[in-house]
């Protein structure tokens, strides 16, 4: 078996982004009108049965489409992958309650198509007429890390012209009321990243905000040739075997909230990269392209 002794990296350009943070009282309006589409019109009431994370996810993509230099881009064959965190909790709890009261006949036919892990990406693909791959990733506590990992995989392969990565979650995670909503004071958050391979971005002459996403796969050997066994944080809660690189200390703020704040900053204010240690030992960083280039040159 071959032994890899170097770290692999892959990079892509984040050509546009959109962030939506919607408190509960804002969601009904977003559901009715998630934003203006630069593509085909979104059918009225298209989001009527959608999970809340679908609503904010679509709104974030629409915002990114309008905000950045991708406005004139042909999205026909773009892909869309979405990594929601615990989609369907509110709708699921309401369905379970109805099932308890009325049996199988009371189960909504919308629960599976609209509240599953694929639902966010599918609704965005459909509403914006994008024919590239669409699927959901994660769904659980590590959804952000899983979404970033898979998005980089996709963009580094095939002839995909571009990819929307849509990251969503509640903050904090709500306790359902069993009626399809919650009494928890919470915000439904979405970050949409319009991603291009660097080569494509350069050939298109686009350098919108000069932001690069880099994923580093750690080496399997340390510098002395000793094998580094990479074990996920979940697999090794005591840290006995040691991951290659520990994620930075966090302040208790969810990483997606930190990412949203980083993106909301003005380009000049982004002095430090946003960084996320992946559970399996890899690392994702989002930084100004110039910063990465300076690092390479050094």
């Amino acid at each position: 078996m071959s032994v890899r002794s170097f770290a692999a990296t892959c990079e892509c350009a984040v050509a546009a982004h959109g962030v939506i943070a919607a408190p509960l009282n804002v969601l009904p309006a977003l559901r009715e009108q998630p934003g203006d589409s630069v593509r085909r019109p979104i059918p009225p009431r298209f989001l009527r049965h959608s999970d809340e994370q679908t609503v904010v996810g679509l709104a974030a993509v629409l915002k990114a489409m309008h905000a950045g230099p991708l406005r004139e881009t042909c999205f026909d064959n773009w892909g869309v992958v979405a990594a929601p965190r615990f989609p369907g909790r509110l709708g699921g709890a309401a369905t379970f309650r109805k099932y308890g009261q009325g049996g199988p006949a009371a189960i909504s036919p919308h629960i599976i198509p609209q509240n599953s892990l694929h639902s966010v990406s599918s609704a965005i693909s459909i509403s914006l007429a994008m024919h590239g791959p669409n699927f959901g990733i994660g769904g659980g506590p590590e959804a952000l890390a899983e979404g970033l990992t898979v998005a980089m995989t996709l963009l580094d392969s095939s002839d995909l012209p571009g990819l929307w990565l849509v990251l969503t979650q509640w903050s904090p995670e709500p306790v359902p009321d069993g009626l399809g909503s919650t009494q928890t004071e919470t915000v439904c958050l979405a970050v949409a990243l319009g991603m291009l391979r660097h080569a494509k971005q350069n050939s298109a002459g686009q350098d919108p905000e000069g932001v690069t996403l880099r994923l580093t796969v750690p080496p399997r050997l340390d510098r002395s040739g000793r094998q580094v066994r990479l074990v996920s944080a979940a697999a090794d809660p005591a840290g006995q075997t040691g991951a290659a690189e520990e994620p930075p200390e966090r302040s208790g703020v969810p990483p997606l909230v930190e990412l949203a704040r980083w993106l909301a900053g003005k380009p000049g204010e982004r002095s430090a990269p946003w960084s996320l240690g992946l559970p399996w030992g890899g690392r994702v960083e989002l930084a100004r392209t110039n910063d990465f280039q300076q690092t390479k040159a050094a």
Binding site: R4, G103, A105, A123, I126, I137, G140, P141, E146, D156
Partner: protein
């Protein structure tokens, strides 16, 4: 040149059995896994026609009592992944390998919350309990040290899982990767699909209910189970003396961008997925020896797929045998693409075409080279497997007999 990816291990739990040999025997024997089960506790007089997994096999080396303590979805995925590793010869002595895992799990938390609720719990109301997803549980229990992710594209989930795993191997991110898909039937998943009017409502004989491409079909029959594979680069597999069920040669994926539930009547997007997969494998339609169709037994879906194959295969469609093994396994939803990949490996290993059972009167709008009722021997080198999911997800996998 991109390295070839081999499939060197299989772990499955299906309505047709749980070992490769048993599954192959039942599949090629045209046996139906559909039976009448009492699924809904509210109405004990009613029995539902489903293709169930009666008992999930305990992985080698596990104590039964310890294994059964896991929830059923966890048992299913653990069983398939652990047995795949064992089958590949990687159950032990793999500390120096970075092994990833990608599983197609379409509604993991809805299933977990529901099963918990049916057992008297209230986990959906207590977010603090949702600490570890199924793939990370597998990672912990099997001591895997590569990336681990869940993916979902409804009925195409397993196709995407295999596609992502193959790409990780090609990028050199992992030395080996577990990939596949699993799903369970629960009262609410059954009720949801029933109320969507997607399920067959036949009440004569369970084994006759699943009839893709047949004029008398009236919806699909739900199945459960899954299959997980070990994927490795050919060179690495050869070095350790592993043998291949097949080469995973090509992958294609597109979206209809049409409707959350109904397949597009326009065949172009799905046929493009087929052509992308064939191109990726470096083959053309004339090279294809068998297509395992998605065809679930819905009129709109079966007809749409026939048009997709006619467009994708061109003139070759008049020659290429096509069958739907869902006629025997039922529709395993998130597990479907993986179990149908397994059926393709059976076709390659046994040089035989699995049949579409119950295909008594083919729908004339599904003008394909069907394999009705009985398996038949054939030279099988290149096979393609379609999976089309809710939300307009289309995947096609191409497998080739390993050289």
């Amino acid at each position: 040149m991109t390295q070839r990816i081999w499939m060197t291990g299989v772990g499955a739990a299906t309505p047709l059995g749980s070992g490769f040999a048993t599954f192959a025997e039942n599949l090629l024997g045209g046996k139906s896994g559909v039976a009448a089960h009492q699924l809904l506790p509210q109405d004990p007089s009613q029995r539902q026609f489903i293709a169930a997994v009666d008992e999930i096999p305990v992985p080698p080396g596990w104590a039964e009592a310890d294994f059964r303590r896991y929830k059923r979805l966890e048992q299913l995925t653990l069983s398939c992944t652990a047995r795949a590793l064992d089958d590949a010869g990687l159950a032990d002595g793999r500390d120096d390998l970075r092994i990833g895992v990608v599983l197609g799990l379409g509604a993991e938390y809805l299933r977990i919350w529901e099963l918990d609720m049916l057992a008297g719990g209230n986990r959906v109301y207590t977010p603090d309990q949702d600490l570890l997803s199924v793939v990370h549980l597998i990672q912990r229990e099997l001591g895997l040290n590569g990336p681990a992710v869940s993916v979902a594209a409804a009925c195409a989930s397993g196709g995407y899982a295999l596609g992502v795993a193959r790409r990780w191997l090609q990028l050199g991110w992992v030395d080996a990767c577990l990939a596949g898909g699993c799903d369970l039937i629960t009262p609410m998943s059954y009720g949801g699909f029933y109320n969507l009017r997607a399920l067959s409502r036949r009440d004569d004989s369970p084994t006759l209910a699943s009839r893709p491409f047949d004029r008398a079909r009236d919806g699909f029959v739900m199945g459960e189970g899954g299959s997980v594979f070990v994927l490795e680069g050919e060179a690495a597999a050869r070095r350790r003396g592993a043998s291949a069920y097949a080469e995973f040669a090509g992958f294609g994926a597109t979206s209809d961008a049409s409707h959350m539930v109904i397949p597009s009547t326009e065949p172009q997007p799905a046929s493009r997925a087929v052509r992308l997969a064939l191109d990726d494998a470096g083959v053309n339609p004339d090279d294809v020896d068998y297509v395992n169709a998605h065809a679930a037994g819905t009129t709109v879906g079966d007809r749409a797929e026939a048009r997709v194959l006619q467009l994708a295969l061109g003139d070759a469609v008049a020659r290429v045998p096509v069958s739907s093994t869902k006629s025997m396994t039922g529709h395993l939803l998130s597990g479907a693409a993986a179990v149908e990949a397994l059926a393709c490996l059976v076709a390659i290993r046994h040089q035989a075409l699995p049949p579409t059972v119950n295909l008594d009167d083919p729908d004339p709008e599904c003008d394909l080279q069907h394999v009705p009722h009985c398996a038949r021997p054939a030279s099988v080198r290149v096979v393609a497997s379609n999976s089309f999911g809710f939300g307009g997800s289309n995947t096609c996998l191409v497998f080739r007999k390993a050289a």
